[in-house]
């Protein structure tokens, strides 16, 4: 039965066919761990695959209030939109701009109560700032599929309702000192458990004591 299912998954993958409802989605669970005692924040685990129909246009909101972007980290799916909302109680203007390689933009002046959308077509990390206020900055992580999770610390994770197929679990870590190896996952009709993602320090190029 399992062999038949795996064959179906492969056939559908190669043909680029949207999976029939009979091939149900399953949850993927596992653990993200770090060598040593280091505690990292804001870890985004997402699944990258070639399953047609796996992407969806999402819309999320970032509020500018008390001169802070909330949330400071947003995750959206490629093609999705972030709406910046100036929700200040006083007449305070904001601006949002980014110099990132993923998307360079300047949204101009955002006055009180305005809502300004911007879409992100390419996957990657977008660091953005307000040009008016010095402590206002935030990050948008654009992922390639709607199958992702955001962890505030290393530990257990679950990605729900993943369609059958061959996927690669990738991790985005804001701390430039660390990286995670991608993990290949085959999702079938049953939940996938025990996925282990290891985060390691990047190797040194040259040491000077």
């Amino acid at each position: 039965m399992r062999r038949v299912f795996a064959s179906l998954v492969l056939v559908f993958s190669f043909a680029g066919i949207v999976y029939p409802a009979a091939l149900r989605a399953a949850d993927v669970t596992g653990t993200l761990s770090i060598n040593g005692k280091k505690t990292l924040k804001n870890l985004v685990i997402y699944l990258q695959g070639k399953v047609k129909g796996a992407t969806q246009k999402t819309r999320t909101k970032v509020v500018q209030k008390s001169q802070v972007f909330k949330p400071g980290l947003s995750v959206i799916v490629q093609g999705g939109t972030v709406v910046f909302v100036n929700d200040e109680s006083q007449d305070i203007d904001h601006n949002v701009y980014s110099l990132s390689k993923t998307k360079k933009f300047d949204l101009g002046l955002l006055s009180k109560q305005t809502k300004t959308p911007i879409s992100f077509e390419k996957p990657g990390v977008v660091k953005y700032y307000c040009s008016i206020h010095k402590n206002m900055e935030g990050t948008i992580v654009v992922v390639q599929s709607p199958y992702y999770t955001l962890l505030d610390k290393p530990g257990a994770f679950v990605i729900k309702n993943v369609p059958p197929g061959i996927w690669t679990a990738k991790t985005i870590i804001s701390h430039k000192r660390y990286k995670a190896q991608p993990v290949d996952i085959t999702v079938g009709p049953d939940p996938v458990e025990g996925v282990v993602i290891s985060v390691k320090r990047k190797g040194r190029k040259r040491k000077k004591g």
Partner: protein
């Protein structure tokens, strides 16, 4: 006057040349300014009775911006780096930095690739300093440096880099590392001048870590200084 002429003739006869002769310079003013939309809005508001009554927190009656403590004060911005790439090469320089309980100082630094960072650990915990490049696995690092001691890193990476400490995520120093970069740290509105340059084309760099890097190519001739005035603003940098 006669003595002067005689001295000049004598110098020419025995082969003494003025080192500045045949050289050129680059000079100009570097200025930072707020977003053009904010500048325009403040100017318009300054002409309204409400703004003149100081209802708006950052509008001065003369149409300028009143910068509050929480704003990026472009009028006195202190972290602008202006530099040029010297095709003849530059000698390695050592830069002193430190981290205390709050943050790294300075917050940004433009260097020539190959320069040395000497980082003082002014915290109470041992720290491992690293220099990392975005989208790259390459890392430069020190051994773990005890409190009150200093670690050194020779920066062999190029581009926009980050100096941080493995054990302390509170802050980083933003680095711009370019081969053969000669740079000065300026304040908004400052005059800058690079002298004694051989004639030719030079790659000039203007950088503020929050706004990114702007490049200009300038031709230096011995006849007169090349002038490059530059305004840094979000609307000029993000295009």
């Amino acid at each position: 006057m006669r003595l002067c002429v005689i001295l000049l003739l004598a110098s020419a006869c025995i082969g003494i040349t003025d080192p500045a002769l045949g050289k050129g310079s680059i000079q100009g003013v570097v200025t930072a300014r707020a977003h053009k939309d904010l500048v325009a809005k403040v100017k318009a508001l300054s002409e309204t009775p409400e703004a003149l009554a100081n209802i708006n927190p950052y509008v001065a009656s003369d149409g300028s911006i009143i910068y509050t403590f929480d704003m990026v004060n472009y009028r006195s911005l202190e972290e602008i780096f202006v530099g040029y790439v010297n095709p003849g090469g530059v000698a390695s320089i050592t830069h002193k930095l430190k981290i205390d309980e709050d943050r790294f100082q300075p917050r940004s630094l433009a260097i020539a690739t190959g320069d040395i960072l000497k980082i003082e650990n002014d915290t109470d915990e041992p720290l491992t300093f690293y220099v990392a490049k975005e989208d790259s696995d390459e890392i430069l690092e020190t051994d773990t440096i005890p409190p009150d001691e200093t670690g050194t890193i020779t920066v062999t990476l190029e581009g926009l880099l980050e100096l941080g400490a493995d054990e302390n995520d509170k802050s980083v120093t933003h680095l711009l590392s370019l081969p053969n970069l000669v740079s000065n740290k300026m304040e908004s509105g400052d005059d800058y001048k690079f002298e004694g340059l051989a004639p030719g084309d030079y790659r000039m760099v203007f950088w503020f870590w929050r706004l990114g890097m702007l490049e200009r190519t300038v031709t230096v001739t011995p006849s007169k200084p090349a002038r490059v005035d530059q305004v840094l603003s979000v609307d000029t940098m993000v295009r």
